[in-house]
């Protein structure tokens, strides 16, 4: 039995039947991480001592048949922008290099209560700004499928760790595609839930009206299970929606006969690679063979979403990141004579170039004379996209498309041209602007053996339908065997 190949559900069953102890799982996975993560770079910090201690305590409970908690003994990795009490939470930034939160994020409270075991904190683009994890202050992440390739981003460490078999699940965060695109690049499953489904309390804020935490897993069932467990409101996140039903595994294998799927022509048009387009068309055929109908539709304003998104997200970021003042926590520059000088030096030395670009852009957009021209118009465009997508959901159950315009590209290939990288987010941004849930699942491999991701977008709070369609699709196509064969070596 190869422990690193097992899913959350398989591990859970083997623990419950006492075939395996939590400490054996944790030990085997740390061995694997220590053997190859120097190459992959998915973890920024390993929680080894505490994880082993916790696992041994769970071993004892297992022996006594007191295995409480829906994730009893299951290891997890957490993106480093989710607050873990007393445990480093750096956002992959020099600004927070030694920051230890004094409280747990809501999702951490829930996962700790489930008796999951924190293996470590995962690498990311600094403050979740980027699409390749090349903006980490500490180190790059390599794609486990091909170590020359980026893992995607910003949750690149979280997706790479799941693909590499370091953890059966990770949590990432998704502001413009940061869970789904790395999941697509790494051949795993990633969900951006409906805005408000998961409490954001304790997620270091990037763009508050767009951010959501979401699970990354090897298969669809695990993803549904983890989202069930992290869903729920918190009185310290007033935008989290109370009293929602979150029973996604129920009916996950329901027949797709009669399901209506929309395929917007803008999602397979200009700028989308031939391989990706073919993979989506093949997936459409698969859905038809499963009894669903797939029809070509249009979301006419798709080409404007990147502009709107970067204006809105950067505006919110410039406001959110104002809190990093070097006084209450985080990096502090030396030698400042006055308070103003202290702020300016601290923020100049603590933030990396991409974070500064976005703060400057956002500050510009919100400054006098530009607010109406840029910010308000971007928010209006957002309303237009929402209406176009809502109209589709009057007639269709799901919207289908690729997750990213291309498979993973090489490290360094795009890092010099921010705008080109921004444009790659065109397929994932609509779900963030509208708050709709969207999932990425593998739908193929490129000629060079890199995964291709398929995206399913649902109406608000319609995650169950997404998981149902994704599960049936996964029965027809998946990369589960290929994931087991990954070598994790520099080629």
């Amino acid at each position: 039995m190869n422990i690193h190949e097992l899913t959350v559900e398989a591990l859970y069953e083997k623990i419950q039947s006492k075939e395996i102890k939590p400490s054996e799982i944790v030990g085997a996975l740390f061995d694997r991480i220590e053997a190859s993560d120097e190459t992959i770079g998915s973890f920024l910090f390993l929680n080894k001592e505490d994880a082993l201690k916790q696992a041994q305590a769970l071993d004892q409970l297992q022996e006594e048949d007191r295995m409480d908690g829906p994730l009893f003994g299951i290891p997890m990795g957490i993106k480093d922008n989710i607050c873990t009490k007393d445990i480093l939470t750096t956002c992959a930034s020099r600004m927070l290099e030694d920051f230890r939160p004094v409280y747990d994020a809501t999702v951490m409270e829930k996962l700790n209560d489930s008796n999951a075991i924190l293996m470590g904190k995962q690498n990311m683009d600094e403050f979740a700004m980027g699409g390749s994890t090349e903006n980490s202050y500490f180190k790059n992440v390599r794609n486990p499928w091909d170590t020359n390739a980026v893992p995607g981003g910003s949750s690149g460490g979280s997706a790479a760790a799941v693909a590499a078999g370091y953890v059966p699940f990770s949590l990432g965060s998704d502001t413009g595609g940061s869970v789904r695109q790395p999941a697509a690049f790494c051949g795993v499953v990633g969900m951006k839930p409906t805005y408000g489904r998961v409490s954001r309390y304790g997620l270091v804020a990037f763009a508050s009206s767009l951010d959501q935490i979401g699970p990354i897993t090897r298969n669809v069932r695990d993803n549904a299970k983890i989202l069930e467990l992290i869903s729920g409101t918190h009185n310290k996140d007033a935008t989290s929606v109370p009293d929602l039903d979150a029973d996604f595994l129920k009916g996950i294998d329901k027949d797709l006969t009669g399901m209506k799927i929309a395929l917007p022509k803008e999602f397979i048009g200009e700028g989308i690679s031939t391989e990706v387009e073919e993979s989506v068309k093949k997936a459409a055929e698969t859905f038809r063979s499963l009894g669903a109908t797939v029809e070509e539709v249009s979301i006419p304003h798709t080409k404007y979403v990147v502009s709107a998104y970067y204006l809105i997200a950067s505006s919110e970021a410039s406001s959110n990141l104002a809190r990093f003042d070097g006084i209450r926590y985080g990096y502090k520059a030396e030698g400042a004579e006055t308070l103003e000088e202290h702020y300016k030096k601290t923020r100049a030395e603590g933030f990396g170039p991409e974070v500064k670009r976005r703060i400057l852009l956002g500050t510009f957009v919100l400054s006098a004379g530009h607010y109406d021209q840029h910010y308000i118009r971007a928010q209006k465009l957002r309303g237009v996209i929402e209406k176009e997508m809502k109209d589709l959901f009057n007639e269709y159950d799901l919207i289908l498309g690729p997750t990213a315009p291309t498979p993973a590209y090489n490290i360094g290939e795009k890092s010099d041209d921010q705008l080109e990288m921004y444009k790659d987010d065109i397929l994932t941004i609509p779900a963030n602007l509208t708050g709709m849930p969207a999932l990425s699942i593998p739908s193929g491999l490129s000629g060079s053996g890199r995964p291709i991701g398929l995206q399913l977008i649902g109406d608000h709070f319609d995650e169950q339908k997404i998981y149902n369609a994704a599960f049936k699709f996964e029965e027809q196509f998946n990369l589960h065997e290929e994931l087991k064969q990954l070598k994790l070596e520099v080629r």
């Binding site: 030694d98 920051f99 230890r100 004094v102 409906t194 805005y195 408000g196 009206s209 767009l210 007033a238 935008t239 929606v241 304003h301 404007y304 502009s307 709107a308 970067y310 410039s318 104002a322 070097g326 006084i327 209450r328 926590y329 985080g330 502090k332 004579e337 006055t338 308070l339 103003e340 000088e341 202290h342 300016k344 030096k345 923020r347 100049a348 933030f351 670009r357 703060i359 400057l360 852009l361 500050t363 510009f364 400054s367 530009h370 840029h374 118009r377 971007a378 928010q379 209006k380 465009l381 957002r382 309303g383 237009v384 921010q418 705008l419 921004y422 963030n432 602007l433 708050g435 608000h460």
Partner: protein, 96 residues
């Protein structure tokens, strides 16, 4: 001509309290931001005169909670991440 020039970038950096190390860095930011803002002008071709802005994804109104007592962070915890502390308070350089 772009709305973004060297002076705009310096002005905005001052507002954002980010020191830009030298003229060369300022020029690089100017070039990069100009490119992004020029691209954003794509939105100009859309008629949005009769559209209302959508500031938030989910329409929640007046979220209330019970006004109950709870234990706040201890002073020690609140100061635990600060680099400069004096007499149980955050210490900062002079304001003026």
């Amino acid at each position: 001509m772009s709305e973004i020039n060297l002076d705009t970038v310096k002005h905005v950096a001052n507002l954002a309290r980010i020191e830009i190390q030298d003229e060369k860095a300022a020029e690089a930011f100017t070039e990069e931001l100009a490119k992004i803002v020029d691209y954003a002008h794509l939105l100009d071709e859309v008629d949005l005169s009769s559209t209302t802005p959508m500031f938030h994804a989910v329409d929640l109104k007046n979220v209330m909670r019970e006004d109950t007592e709870h234990a706040p962070l201890s002073q020690e915890e609140a100061l635990s991440n600060a680099k400069s502390v004096k007499d149980g308070q955050f210490k900062v350089p002079k304001m003026l």
